[in-house]
C-alpha cells in the first residue's frame, strides 16, 4: 500500500499521473481491500469496542444499559479515597507477575534455544530425528501440555515429587502449583519447556543464513571456537535473536492459558490477561475489564516499540564504533 501511494504521490507532484500508474494504484487497492476489510472486522472493530467499553460502566449481564463514565474505570476519587485500575494493587500485582514471567522465561528460552540451535546446526548422524524430537513440545497444544504438567507437578500423585523423593532430594511432597514460593517457577518451567523449541528453530534459521566461509577464514586465522562464537557468531546472529525475542516477549506478555490451567486464579501467578478475564467473565465487570484490556494493549504496544527501538539503536551504535 505504501508503495502504491508513494509512487502515486511522485507522479502526482509531476503534474500528470499516467494512465498506467492510475491503473496500478487501483489494482493495488483492489487486492488490498479484502485484507483491510478482514482486519477491520476482526481486529480494528473489537479493539475500538473494547476501548469504548473501558470508558463505560457496562456489565456482562446487560450490555445495553451501559453509560459513559469517562476515566472512572482507570482512576476516580470518592470521599478522598482513590478507586480504579491505576490504584488497584491486584492489577499491579498482575502486571508485576507478567513482567517477571516474561523476562525470566524469555531469557531462559533464549539461552536454551541458542544452545539447542547450535547443537542442531552441527552435522551429526540422526540430526533430522533430533530436530523433529525437539519440536514435539512446541507441537502439543498448550492446554494439553499444561494439563500434563499439572499432573506431573501434582502434590500427591505427581511423578516429579515421586522422583525427587526417591532420589532423596526432598522429604515431603511439594505442592508446586499451589505453593506461593514455587507456583511462578512451575509456570516458567513449563513455558520454557514448551517454547524453547520455537526459539531454537528461529535461531537455527538465523544460523543457517550465516556464511560458511568466514568460519573457514577464522580457522585459518587460528581463532578458537569460543572466541569465534562470541566475536563472530553472536554478533551476526543478533538480528535473528532480536526477532525471536520480540516474538516471544509479545507472546509472553499476554500469557493466559498456561497460567489459568496450571494455577487458576491464584494471585501468586495471575497475569494481566488472567486478571482481565477474571474481571470480564467471573465478576461480569465488562467496563472495568475492558479498561484492563485497554491497558494491557497499551503495555504490550509500548514494550514492542521499546524493544524495536532498542534493537535498532544497538545496530546503529555498532556501526559507529
Amino acid at each position: 500500500m505504501a508503495l502504491a501511494l508513494s509512487s502515486g504521490e511522485q507522479v502526482g507532484a509531476g503534474g500528470n499521473r499516467s494512465q498506467l500508474t492510475t491503473a496500478r494504484i487501483r489494482a493495488a487497492w483492489l487486492f488490498l481491500s479484502p485484507m483491510l476489510i478482514a482486519l477491520a472486522v476482526v481486529a480494528a472493530w473489537p479493539l475500538a469496542r473494547t476501548f469504548w467499553l473501558g470508558f463505560t460502566d457496562a456489565n456482562l449481564s446487560d450490555l445495553s444499559q451501559s453509560q459513559f463514565i469517562g476515566f472512572e474505570n482507570f482512576y476516580a476519587v470518592y470521599d478522598g479515597e482513590a478507586y480504579g485500575l491505576l490504584v488497584d494493587p491486584e492489577w499491579w500485582n498482575a502486571v508485576g507477575n507478567t513482567l517477571y514471567f516474561t523476562v525470566v522465561s524469555v531469557a531462559l528460552e533464549t539461552v536454551f534455544g541458542l544452545v539447542i540451535a547450535l547443537v542442531l546446526h552441527a552435522n551429526f548422524k540422526g540430526r533430522g530425528l533430533v530436530r523433529t524430537a525437539v519440536l514435539i513440545p512446541w507441537a502439543i497444544p498448550t492446554i494439553v501440555s499444561a494439563r500434563m504438567w499439572g499432573w506431573m507437578l501434582h502434590d500427591q500423585f505427581g511423578v516429579i515429587n515421586a522422583a525427587l523423593m526417591t532420589l532423596g532430594i526432598i522429604d515431603t511432597p511439594i505442592a508446586w502449583t499451589a505453593n506461593p514460593d514455587t507456583a511462578m517457577w512451575a509456570v516458567i518451567i513449563v513455558d520454557v519447556w514448551k517454547t524453547t523449541p520455537f526459539m531454537a528453530l528461529l535461531i537455527l534459521a538465523g544460523l543457517q543464513m550465516l556464511p560458511n566461509d568466514i568460519y573457514e577464514a577464522a580457522k585459518v586465522d587460528g581463532v578458537g571456537p569460543v572466541r569465534v562464537f562470541f566475536r563472530v557468531t553472536l554478533p551476526l546472529l543478533r538480528p535473528a535473536i532480536v526477532v525471536a525475542v520480540v516474538f516471544r516477549a509479545l507472546d509472553a506478555l499476554r500469557i493466559f492459558d498456561l497460567i489459568y490451567v496450571l494455577t487458576s486464579n491464584s494471585t501468586d501467578t495471575m497475569s494481566m490477561s488472567v486478571y482481565t478475564k477474571q474481571q470480564l467473565i467471573d465478576f461480569q465487570e465488562m467496563g472495568y475489564g475492558s479498561a484492563a484490556a485497554t491497558l494491557l494493549f497499551m503495555i504490550v504496544a509500548f514494550m514492542t516499540v521499546i524493544t524495536l527501538i532498542a534493537g535498532k539503536l544497538r545496530f546503529d551504535g555498532e556501526g559507529e564504533r
Binding site: P211, D213, I214, E216, A217, A218, K219, V220, D221, G222, V223, G224, R227, R231, V232, P235, L236, E318, G319
Partner: protein
C-alpha cells in the same frame, strides 16, 4: 616462507575419490597456479594444503615438516577466499587484526602492522569502513591484507578474482604479481582462468579428474603440452584437433593423412610409432595460415571480429570445426571459401591415448610466428 611438498596425496569424500595420489614440490618463493576444469580437484587440493580438509592418504610437508595432522592455524598458512570471507560486522581494521589478537603481539604492534600493510594495499583511508561499504576490488584487497599481516609461510589463493569484473580482475592480477615479486612469498593460486594462470605463474599445474596432467612453466605448457588434454586446456581459443592416420614415421618430420583428406607433414619425432595407427593432429588457431596458394580449401561459415583480432570458423569435410585466428580486421566474408595451410613447425601430434610426440620445431620457428601471420594478412 617455506616450500610445500605433496607426496602421493589422496582424498576421498565417502566412497568418491577426488584426488588420486598427487606428487608435487612447490619451491620456496615460487608462485604455483593450479588450473583445471571445474570439478578437477584443484580447490580440494588447496584446501588439503590449508588443512580445511583432512587428507585420506599420503603426506603434506610445509617447510620440511609433515603437517598432515596439524590444524590450519598450526600450519602457518594464510588463505584468500573467492568470496573474500570477510567478517561482515567488523571494520576493515578489525578484519585484518582479528587473527593477530590471539598471538603474542601487543596492541601497538598489531596497529603498526595493520597500518603498514594497509598502506601497501592502499587501504589506509578505508580502515574504519565495514565490508559492505567497500567495492569488490577493495574487499579483495582487504582479504589479501588480512593474509599478509599474519606473515604466513605460504599464501593460498582460492580463485580470488573470479567475483570481480573483467577490468578489476586485470588490475588485481597485476597487484598480486607485484606483491609476489616484492614479498618473494610462496604462493599457491587456484584459478580456472588460464590468462591468470599464464600471467601469474612461475609454474602451472594442470589438473584433471584429481590427477596432475602436467607441471611446467607457462610457455612450456603452451609450446610443449605433454598430452591432448593440456594442449586443449591451455590456450584460448582452444587448439584445433584433427583425426588422422600415421603414414610415415620419422625422427624429424612425420607424415599424417587427415581423415578429412589432405596429407600433411608435422614437425614431431615419431620414430618407433606404427605406420597406420590412429593419431590426432593439433594446431592452435593463431598458427593456421590463410594462404591463397594452398590446395586445402574450406567453406568459411562464421566470422567473429574482435577488433585487434578475428576468428574464422571453417568445417573440415569430417565435420571437425577449425578455428583460425588472425590479426586485425579481415576482408573475408562469411559464406565464401578460404584456403589454409598448417605450418609443420606449429603442428602437434598425439597418439591414440592422447600422449604427445616430442616436437622437433626449433624455438626460432616459434618466434617467427608473429611475422608470418602479419605478412599473410596483407
Amino acid at each position: 616462507m617455506a616450500d610445500v611438498t605433496l607426496r602421493s596425496v589422496k582424498k576421498s569424500f565417502g566412497k568418491t575419490a577426488v584426488i588420486h595420489g598427487v606428487d608435487l614440490v612447490i619451491n620456496q618463493g615460487e608462485l604455483v597456479v593450479f588450473v583445471g576444469p571445474s570439478g578437477c580437484g584443484k580447490s580440494t587440493l588447496l584446501r588439503l594444503i590449508a588443512g580445511l580438509e583432512d587428507i585420506s592418504g599420503g603426506d603434506i610437508l610445509i617447510g620440511g615438516e609433515v603437517v598432515n595432522n596439524r590444524s590450519p592455524k598450526d600450519r602457518q598458512i594464510a588463505m584468500v577466499f573467492q568470496s573474500y570471507a570477510l567478517y561482515p560486522h567488523m571494520s576493515v581494521f578489525q578484519n585484518m587484526s582479528f587473527g593477530l589478537q590471539l598471538s603474542r603481539h601487543s596492541k601497538q604492534e598489531i596497529k603498526e602492522k595493520v597500518h603498514e600493510v594497509a598502506k601497501v594495499l592502499e587501504l589506509t583511508d578505508l580502515l574504519e569502513r565495514k565490508p559492505k561499504q567497500l567495492s569488490g576490488g577493495q574487499r579483495q584487497r582487504v582479504a589479501i591484507g588480512r593474509a599478509i599481516v599474519r606473515n604466513p609461510r605460504v599464501f593460498l589463493f582460492d580463485e580470488p578474482l573470479s567475483n570481480l569484473d573483467a577490468a578489476l580482475r586485470v588490475q588485481m592480477r597485476i597487484e598480486i604479481a607485484k606483491l609476489h615479486r616484492e614479498m618473494g612469498a610462496t604462493m599457491v593460486y587456484v584459478t580456472h582462468d588460464q590468462v591468470e594462470a599464464m600471467t601469474l605463474a612461475d609454474r602451472i599445474v594442470v589438473l584433471s579428474a584429481g590427477r596432475i596432467e602436467q607441471v611446467g612453466a607457462p610457455l612450456e605448457l603452451y609450446h610443449k603440452p605433454c598430452n591432448k588434454f593440456v594442449a586443449g586446456f591451455i590456450g584460448s581459443p582452444k587448439m584445433n584437433f584433427m583425426r588422422g592416420t600415421l603414414m610415415e614415421a620419422g625422427s624429424q618430420t612425420t607424415t599424417v593423412k587427415l581423415d578429412a583428406g589432405p596429407v600433411i607433414t608435422v614437425g614431431v619425432d615419431s620414430s618407433g610409432a606404427a605406420v597406420g595407427s590412429a593419431v590426432t593432429v593439433g594446431i592452435r588457431p593463431e598458427h593456421i595460415l590463410v594462404d591463397q596458394n594452398s590446395s586445402l580449401e574450406l567453406p568459411l561459415e562464421v566470422i567473429e571480429e574482435l577488433g585487434e583480432s578475428h576468428f574464422l570458423y571453417a568445417p573440415l569435410s569430417t565435420g571437425e570445426m577449425l578455428t583460425i585466428q588472425g590479426r586485425g580486421d579481415t576482408t573475408l566474408a562469411a559464406g565464401s571459401a578460404i584456403r589454409i595451410q598448417f605450418p609443420e613447425e606449429h603442428c602437434h601430434l598425439f597418439d591414440a591415448d592422447g600422449k604427445a610426440f616430442a616436437r622437433t620445431a626449433s624455438a626460432k620457428a616459434e618466434e617467427q610466428f608473429d611475422f608470418r601471420t602479419l605478412t599473410t594478412q596483407q
